[in-house]
């Protein structure tokens, strides 16, 4: 159990605990902020694993853009700022959801533990900007362009959905 393993465990526990708080919190804004903590802990996890560009993109896109979008949506849908009682489904649905979630975790965990590679060395040089950028713009340039077309399509679709037909 090296120091890196201890740090991985710490960030992992932080990500799981804040994720659990994000889905069970009874105040919407607190849930969005716990999501920030969870995504930030995941970015720290990527940094520890050596995937530096992925960690930075996670911080920029997920924490910086996605959570801000969630907060804006909460503001625009007049979300209650205090404690709210109608955020969760009734108790039987919640128990069923907890059973489904727990069994998914157990199933995935068992499959991943069976494929455990054991001790691996941390290769930080493949996660840095230069090797990742070289391979992204040399071998993955076609998916890269397709993803930008996808982003354009999502943007146009979001504008089309929110305009409706009143504005003609």
């Amino acid at each position: 159990m090296t120091g890196l393993d201890v740090l991985l465990t710490a960030f992992g526990v932080l990500a799981l605990a804040s994720g659990l708080l994000a889905v069970t919190s009874q105040q919407v804004v607190h849930a969005a902020l716990w999501l920030v903590v969870s995504l930030g802990a995941l970015a720290g996890l990527y940094l520890l694993l050596g995937a530096e560009v992925v960690a930075l993109v996670q911080l920029l896109v997920y924490v910086g853009a996605v959570v801000v979008l969630v907060l804006f949506a909460l503001m625009l849908t007049r979300a209650p700022t205090g404690r709210s009682d109608d955020l969760d489904s009734p108790r039987p649905v919640r128990v069923l959801a907890a059973v489904v979630g727990a069994s998914t975790t157990v199933l995935l965990g068992a499959a991943l533990l069976a494929a455990d590679p054991g001790l691996v060395e941390r290769r930080a040089e493949t996660g840095q900007a230069r090797p990742l950028g070289e391979v992204l713009f040399a071998s993955w340039v076609l998916p890269f362009e397709l993803v930008s077309v996808l982003l354009l399509a999502a943007l146009v679709a979001a504008v089309a959905v929110s305009r409706g037909r009143e504005s003609e």
Binding site: L8, G12, L16, G19, L20, A22, V23, V28, A32, S38, L39, L42, L45, Y46, L49, G50, A51, V53, V54, V61, Y62, V66, L69, V70, F72, A73, L76, T77, A79, L87, D88, S89, R94, V100, A102, S103, T104, T105, V106, L108, L112, L113, A115, D116, P117, L119, V120, R123, T126, V135, W140, P143, F144, L151, A154, A157, A158, V161, S162, G164
Partner: protein, 118 residues
């Protein structure tokens, strides 16, 4: 380092995200659960680039795991932008973002006014 802890974190996040999608009633809270589910997948993608049975020595030269993670994050951002636009439209037409209160989301459910281009 051992990759068991990040792998178990990915499994736990998938279960937590699934609970969030199934148990929440507020539309934006369902999206928070969906984001956690997506992050579990992205974490697994990053883990495949670092270790695993039958890997070539020196790892994958194409860095498919990390590049896949970058694309997955981008697609998730596009998806949540569109999903929140739909949530805002739902709020505008039905007055609340409670998913149990609105049963019809499609265009056919709305009454057709005169002069509609449809």
């Amino acid at each position: 380092m051992h990759l068991t802890v990040p792998a178990l974190v990915a499994a736990g996040l998938a279960g937590i995200g699934l609970y969030g999608v199934l148990a929440r009633r507020n539309a934006v809270m369902v999206l928070v659960g969906a984001e956690l589910l997506l992050n579990a997948g992205v974490l697994l993608l990053v883990l495949t680039d670092l270790g695993g049975a039958g890997r070539a020595p020196g790892g994958d030269p194409l860095l498919s795991g990390q590049v896949g993670a970058l694309f997955a994050i981008t697609v998730a951002a596009a998806e949540i932008g569109l999903a929140l636009a739909v949530v805002l439209l739902l709020f505008r037409t039905s007055g609340s973002s409670d998913l149990r209160r609105s049963r019809s989301l499609g265009e056919a459910a709305r009454p057709v006014e005169d002069g509609d281009p449809r």
